[in-house]
Every structure is written in C-alpha cells, then in structure tokens.
Amino acid sequence: MTYSIIAEGLVKRFGDTVALDGIDLAVRTGSVLGLLGPNGAGKTTAVRILATLVHPDGGRAAVCGHDVVSHAHQVRQLTGLTGQYASADNTLTGFENLTLIGRLTGQSRPDAKARARELLAGFRLTDAGDRAVKTYSGGMRRRLDLAASLVNRPRVLYLDEPTTGLDPLSRNEMWDVVRGLTAAGVTVLLTTQYLEEADQLADEIVVIDHGTVIATGTPEELKARAGALTLGVRPALAEDLPAVLAAVAGFTRSDPEVRATTVTIPVSGEDVMPAVVRRLEDAGIRVAELNLRGSTLDEVFLSLTGHRAEEAGTAELEGSAA
C-alpha cells in the first residue's frame, strides 16, 4: 500500500496559541481523506503546512516521499491547493488566471492557452472565461479556484473547505468534480466542517479538535461510533420527560441530551425508529413530536468528545493564523 501524504506529530504555534498539537495523518495514494473539525480546529493550518506555505514547529510531513520543508520545491510540483485562502486574481479574467498559472509553471504559451480552455470547458466556465473573476458567482469562483489548482496536473490535491458558503446545488457540483478527480487517480486531502460532505467524499475521515486528532476511521466506522442520525422526542406533557429518557436509554451508548422539553439521542440507523415508537407506546407516553435527522458536526463532536465543538471565537484564530 502506498501513501501519498504522511504527517507525523505536526506541531504549529502562533504566539501563545497552539494551532496543531501533534497531528498524524496518512493518505493512501488515490484516496480521499476528510479532515473534519470545527472552525479553529487546525484544519487550515495542517493544509498550509502540507502545501509548503507554513513551516511546522515540530514533527514532519512528506508528500510522495518528499519532505515538505527540505524539499518544498518538489512538493509544489506535485500538489495543487484550493481553499479559503488560495484564490484567483479578481481583476483578471478566468482565462487569464489559468494561462498565467500555466506560464508560471513552465508551459509554453500555446500549451498554457490550450490547458486553460480545456479546464474552463471542464468546469463549465467557457462562457465566463473572458469575464473578470470579480463578476463571478460564488459557485463559479470555487470552480475556477479548483481549475487553477489543476493547471499543473497535480498528483495530490488539497481542498480546504471547498463548499463552505455554497448553495446546495453548487455543493453537489463540487462533489461530482471531486469524485471525477479521484476516479482519475488524484489523491485528495479535503477539509470540511460538514459531516455529510466527509461522508459523501472521503474514504477515511480524521476528526480533529483543538489541534489534535480525536477520531479516525472510515465514514461507516465513525457513524457507528458517533451516531450518524439524531433522534428527537418531545413528549406532550413535560412531566413525561423522565419516562422518555428511560424509554430511549437502551438505543444509544452515549447519554441522551435534554433541550427544553425535547430529548435527543444519537442513533446508528433508521431501523431504531419503529422500536422507539413501540417502546414509547408501551410506556403510555403521548408524543408531541418525533423526528430523525442527520447528526450535525456538533452532535458528532459531543458524542465523540463529550464536549461541544466551540464554533464561535476560535474562528478568528485560524483567520489570523493564516
């Protein structure tokens, strides 16, 4: 088995803030690794180290066997970066952006133009190719950013939150593009805040929080561990709450949570629903609301770590770290 990306004990500090506190990663060649975590968890810092933009303070990392610090130039020839912080020149057209990168990476003028046209067509941007990037919609911009990272035909691609802020349609489009790339043998490291995205795309997921790895596994393993779905039960009468808690207790390994008068528990599959309904009926509890939905990252975190993902406040840290 070959690994395209290997990181061992990566540490990065920004002043007093520890962005990464010893992260290990291994990405099989041709696979997709999903790096899942809330804002400020250290996802972007990890990607920036692997893309040679930032030196780690400790640990080491290699891409296709080339150390990201001592052989950064080789790593740059093998990798492409698309993310929140790597973007196109707003004032140039999409075509000019792509040709510029082609020229910079040593393509001849005709080659660079041909490659730019090919990528614009592949990302359905041909019509917008001669317009300045600042006129693009959010989805078009992301597609162009991704195209820009592919000009040099990378073997390894970093996608740093590729769909954050996109509408569901554009998000699905991006997912299809990523699937196409992996089908072509590109190794992908994807960071995301969305459990669903990691589930859709990744062969393996690494969950990080506060700069450390808190869980690793295939999407199926993680969902089984964390509970992919969340069941909510709101009894008609508030005094039935203890009875509800007792009724659902057997369906999950982690503790049920009570918010207002609703009990929520992480569950592993849809088949739990009828059993819960029977149990509630047997206990004679009148239910005002019963629902089953996909777990949010927050809920996965809660069941993996016992604490909530701290979304607010830490977001700025990662921003300034960049």
């Binding site: 070959t2 290990d24 080339h66 970066l81 790597a86 973007s87 004032t91 990168i101």
Partner: protein, 297 residues
C-alpha cells in the same frame, strides 16, 4: 488512530532512505508517468516568472481603464495645476515656474507611484492570491519582483509623459552638449531612486493589516516628505529649521539632481548624493522587506 499507526510503521523506511524512490513508487502505483522533478528553480525560469507576474499587473489596466487615468491623467493634472494656478504666484510666471517645477513633479509622481506597489502587494496578501502563487513551484522572489517591475514600467511611462507634455507647454531642456544624455540620465536616476524607496513601501505593505492602512501610511509619510522639500518651491522663504530639514530631505536632493540633469545647475553632487541615498535605502530596507515578505507571504 487504529489505521494511522500501522501506516507509520510501513512507511517509515520511505522517510529515512531514498525519499525520491518513495515518490516514484507512489506515482507508478497510480499509473501516472514518473515525473522528473526539478530540485530547484533556475535563475532563468525565475526571471521569466517575474516577467509573467509583471504582465499580470500590467494587463489589469486593460480591464480597469480607470487605473490608466490614475497614473496618466493625475500627474498631468498636477503639472497643469501647479504651472498655471501656482506658477505665477510662486515662480513669477507660469513658464518660469514650469522649468523649476517639472523635475520636482516627476520626482513627486514617482514617489507616489511606489504607493501602488505597496497597496497592490497588500491586496494580493489579503485576498489570497499570494497563497495561490506560493503554492506553485515558482521562484520565491518572483511575486515581489514582478510587482516591482510592473510598477517601474508604469513610472517610466508617467515620467516620459510628463516630460513630453512639459515640452509641449514650453519646458526647455538645458542647453549645451550631452543634454539628450542628461534627460536620459535623469530618467534613469529617478527610476533607480524610486526602486530603492519602494523597498521601504514593500516593508510597510508586509507589516500593515490591509491595503487601506498602507494607503493611510503612504499619505501621512509621503505627503509631508514631498512638500517639505524643494520639489515645488525654493526653500528660502521657509523657517530656518524647515530649511535645514529640507536640505537633508532626499526628495530635495533628488529634485536638485533632476534639475541639474534636465535644466542647468550643478548635477554631479546631488546625483552622487541621490545614489548614496538609494544605496542606503536598499541596504536597509531590502533585507527587512524580504524578511517580512518571507514571513508573511
């Protein structure tokens, strides 16, 4: 963690011996052609990359013609306003003042153009374009050098235009032998000196949080620096302490040198002093700017 640990064991050897082999192996397994990776960027490639990035800055003008106005019309407007509004009052007649002020206006314009270098760099940093560039296998100096080269080209254009329009308005190049060379030397001198000053502005752009702050800094420093020199007026009417400062002000020295080369008067001494200033600026600010650039970008 269960999957990570075995991985580390099986690949540790790839780390320690023959990093290149591990890379080639990884590629071969995905069915890709084995890529020949360059160990570093050659100086010739780096130079071409600099030109490509300079092109990128200049081609923006095509999409944003307002920028063309910014660096063509604005200096001409300055020239006309100074000549015809202040000229009579300051220099006795617009024509006499034009001959005095044109060299100073060229200096002032070049100095203010360095602000474009700084705000441009700051914008690239803020909007993530620099991260895109730095993730590419290109020379580390190319993004910085490309921007500076493009702005030098803009300055050359503006200085040439000021000289041409000045000539139409009646500016007479000094009489005597070697004067065409004098104009050429003046042209070269102003570019060399503003290149030196732009290192300080590069440093500012790397330290400032955003382009707006760069702009503010530029105005707070560059405006007083320019106006407390003899670029626009003779210093005789200034208070003594200001005259003393004005004599040492590099803008004065460069303006004197330009006058010496373009019109008449002593040229050798101010030219030599200007070049000394340029060397000092480069020696102090270029290393600081490059260091800050490496750290921030």
């Amino acid at each position: 963690m269960t999957t990570v640990n075995p991985v580390m064991d099986s690949t540790d050897s790839e780390y320690t011996d023959g990093a290149e082999d591990a890379g080639a192996g990884a590629l071969a397994e995905t069915g890709a052609l084995a890529l020949a990776l360059a160990p570093r960027v050659g100086p010739v490639e780096g130079t071409w990359q600099t030109f490509s990035l300079a092109w990128r800055t200049l081609v923006q003008i095509r999409h944003n013609p307002v920028e063309l106005i910014d660096f063509s019309i604005q200096p001409v407007m300055f020239l006309l306003l100074f000549t015809y509004v202040f000229g009579g009052a300051i220099g006795g007649s617009p024509h006499a003042y034009l001959i005095f002020a044109l060299p100073g206006i060229i200096v002032q314009n070049s100095l203010f153009t360095t602000l474009n270098t700084a705000t441009g760099l700051s914008t690239d940093l803020k909007e993530g374009f620099f991260d895109r560039l730095r993730s590419l296998p290109i020379a580390r100096f190319a993004p910085l050098a490309g921007r500076i080269l493009a702005d030098i080209a803009k300055q050359a254009w503006a200085a040439a235009m000021l000289l041409a329009i000045g000539a139409i308005l009646g500016f007479r190049f000094g009489a005597g032998a070697g004067r065409p060379l004098g104009a050429l030397a003046a042209f070269g001198l102003v570019l060399v000196c503003t290149l030196a000053i732009s290192w300080a502005l590069v440093l500012v752009s790397m330290l400032a949080a955003n382009p707006e702050k760069v702009q503010i800094f530029g105005f707070v420093v560059l405006f007083p620096l320019t106006f407390t020199s003899d670029a626009f007026v003779r210093t005789a009417s200034m208070p003594g302490w200001l005259q003393a400062w004005s004599k040492a002000n590099p803008v004065s020295i460069l303006s004197d040198a330009m006058r010496g080369l373009l019109v008449s008067g002593p040229a050798a001494r101010p030219v030599a002093e200007s070049l000394l200033y340029a060397a000092a600026f480069t020696l102090v600010f270029a290393p600081l700017a490059v260091r800050a650039f490496k750290r921030r970008a």
